[in-house]
């Protein structure tokens, strides 16, 4: 057995002959039916401190308004009024908080690769029914990433030579993925984090007081916020796409969170999860499904 850095308890558990599995009975039965043999519950953890307030965080408005980008999306907004006053926000900025994204991705990928390491330990071809959670641990600034799933061997195939594949799906839904002509490759997660520093117009419009400043009587679109929200979705999708190679993302789930510190001062987060799958045969449509009415 190759040396690993798994905890001793994990190695002991995985080396015993009995298997554990996170699948329920129906999914377990479906897996066996498909020729997938569960060999163990595998998991990975990573506790991270979020470096929100670290240097370069630009958390205080007193820091340089044009601090430049940290290698991501950045856009500046300039006051159209030509006013100079301590209370008038003459500048505004949207920027991508790449350091927040990097911390999140580091936590996710570390726990994911630890799970794969356990799966490799038991000689699995893949991991099915993956569940991933991100929870606050003990202290507001410490976040734990936990990923687990059930390692399976494909009966009738030689021992794996490549790292195990993984998928959030299990049971019948996994079987339908193969029927649709896709092979699972891996679970995928990506994040986008954007900070909005409102300039005067955004502040007034978000506060419902834009009309007198904008010289317009009707409702107005709040461009800075619309752009920031759109960018968050776009970046989350691009970051996920960057992990796909020539494969596709299926069963995607986009979770959005928004926090307003002051009028127009927002923090926006978008997390996209999904299954990376690869087409292994030509498109072959099913027959049009038969419509039924159930008599109960």
């Amino acid at each position: 057995m190759p040396p690993t850095d798994l905890p001793e308890a994990a190695q002991r558990r995985l080396s015993e002959s009995a298997f554990s599995s996170a699948l329920n009975v129906s999914d377990f039965a479906a897996c066996v039916e498909m020729g997938l043999q569960p060999v163990g519950l595998v998991q990975g953890f990573c506790a991270m401190q979020q470096g929100m307030y670290a240097m370069g965080g630009g958390f205080s408005r007193a820091l340089s308004p044009y601090g430049g980008s940290q290698g991501g999306y950045v856009q500046n907004y300039q006051c159209p009024h030509g006013m100079i006053s301590n209370e008038h926000r003459m500048w505004g900025q949207n920027y991508q908080q790449t350091w927040v994204e990097n911390a999140w991705m580091e936590g996710f990928t570390s726990s994911y690769s630890r799970m794969l390491e356990e799966a490799g330990e038991v000689g699995a071809h893949g991991v099915v029914g993956v569940v991933d959670t991100v929870t606050r641990l003990t202290d507001a600034q410490v976040v734990e990433f936990h990923i687990y799933g059930t390692a399976v061997k494909v009966l009738g195939t030689p021992a794996p030579t490549t790292p195990p594949w993984s998928t959030f799906l299990a049971g019948q839904r996994l079987s339908k993925v193969f029927e649709a002509g896709f092979a699972p490759i891996s679970i995928v997660a990506s994040i986008a984090s954007i900070r909005v520093w409102a300039y005067c117009m955004t502040e007034y419009l978000m506060g419902g007081a834009g009309m007198m400043w904008a010289n317009s009587s009707g409702p107005q679109e709040i461009d800075q916020v619309v752009t920031a929200l759109s960018q968050a979705r776009f970046i989350a999708r691009s970051n996920a796409r960057a992990q796909l190679g020539s494969d596709s993302l299926r069963g995607a789930n986009l979770q959005l969170a928004e926090r307003e510190y002051e009028k127009g001062d927002l923090e926006i987060q978008a997390v996209l999860r999904g299954n990376r799958v690869r087409r292994f045969k030509e498109f072959d449509p099913l027959a049009v499904p038969q419509a039924t009415v159930r008599l109960s």
Partner: protein, 279 residues
């Protein structure tokens, strides 16, 4: 009518072996796609020769004057206008994003709306779809629909096509009664006619606006209309109504009946495992 057996009965075990063997090969250089449809929805799309292309979104945030919610009579015009324009801009952005990705339409659109005292936010998220391998079309011809891929399939099989989302909103001031009237009516069971009339007209106005959208899209009707109504948490005398639904048109000469077969399930009642709910 006899029960037909499926066209092909796939040997899943053999498919899995084939899939696993393919992983050792060089991946094919096919185009990538993204989708938030379930696998069942994707198989439904496959059955009518459609495929998902890209996860797309469109959104808009409109400002509304802060003080407008409290005093006035009749419709709160600025709020209705902000809602309508935000919804329309979000739809246009979704259309453009889907067209850019090569989609012919967007299905399963999730609509999220937030009405605050100072701004209104509309956010749409769905999956762009197209007939397998079809060429891109102009944004003008891309439809947006909040029907699930399953309902979209059923609609297409029945000879109908979705044309777009129609929406309407109306915000009104709940009428205030004079002190005298309040005292007079305090101990009576009585219809508050001014209330009834105000609510009636606001609801009809919202529906009328939606219908106008549907006619502009040259639709025959609107399906899956959702109606949201209720008081504004931040204003004691304001009520809002919002409706939207998918505009459809009969694409073939006549409606094609799907002739459902009656079935009796022999399954035990049980709840399937869903790993997503554990997250």
């Amino acid at each position: 009518m006899s029960l037909e057996t499926p066209k092909t009965s796939l040997d899943v075990k053999a498919e899995i072996l084939r899939a696993v063997a393919s992983l050792a090969q060089k991946p094919p250089a096919t185009g990538t796609s993204t989708s938030d449809l379930s696998i069942d929805e994707e198989l439904n799309l496959h059955s009518i020769g459609w495929e998902p292309v890209e996860l797309v979104s469109g959104l808009s945030v409109f400002s509304a004057p802060a003080g407008m919610w409290n005093w006035g009579q009749g419709e709160i015009v600025a709020a209705s206008e902000a809602h309508q324009r935000a919804f329309n801009n979000a739809i246009t952005r979704l259309n453009n994003e889907a067209a850019k990705a090569g989609g012919h339409g967007v299905v399963g659109v999730h609509v999220e709306r937030q009405v605050y005292s100072t701004h209104i936010e509309i956010s749409l998220l769905g999956t762009a779809v197209r007939p397998v391998g079809a060429k891109p079309v102009e944004a003008l011809h891309v439809f947006v629909s909040d029907l699930s891929a399953r309902d979209f399939t059923l609609l297409m099989v029945a000879g109908w096509q979705p044309l777009g989302l129609a929406t309407g909103a109306s915000f009104v001031y709940a009428p205030r009664r004079s002190v005298g009237t309040v005292l007079q009516q305090q101990s009576q069971n009585v219809e508050l006619k001014n209330y009834t009339e105000a609510m009636y007209s606001a609801r009809e106005t919202a529906m009328e606006r939606m219908q106008r959208d549907a006619l502009a899209l040259k639709g025959d009707g609107v399906v899956e209309v959702k109606l949201f109504e209720g008081p504004m948490s931040f204003a004691s005398h304001a009520v809002g109504f919002a409706v939207w639904g998918t505009v459809v048109r009969l694409a073939k000469e006549s409606h094609h009946s799907v002739h459902p077969t009656a079935v009796v399930s022999l399954n035990d009642v049980d709840v399937a495992f869903d790993s997503a709910v554990l997250a």
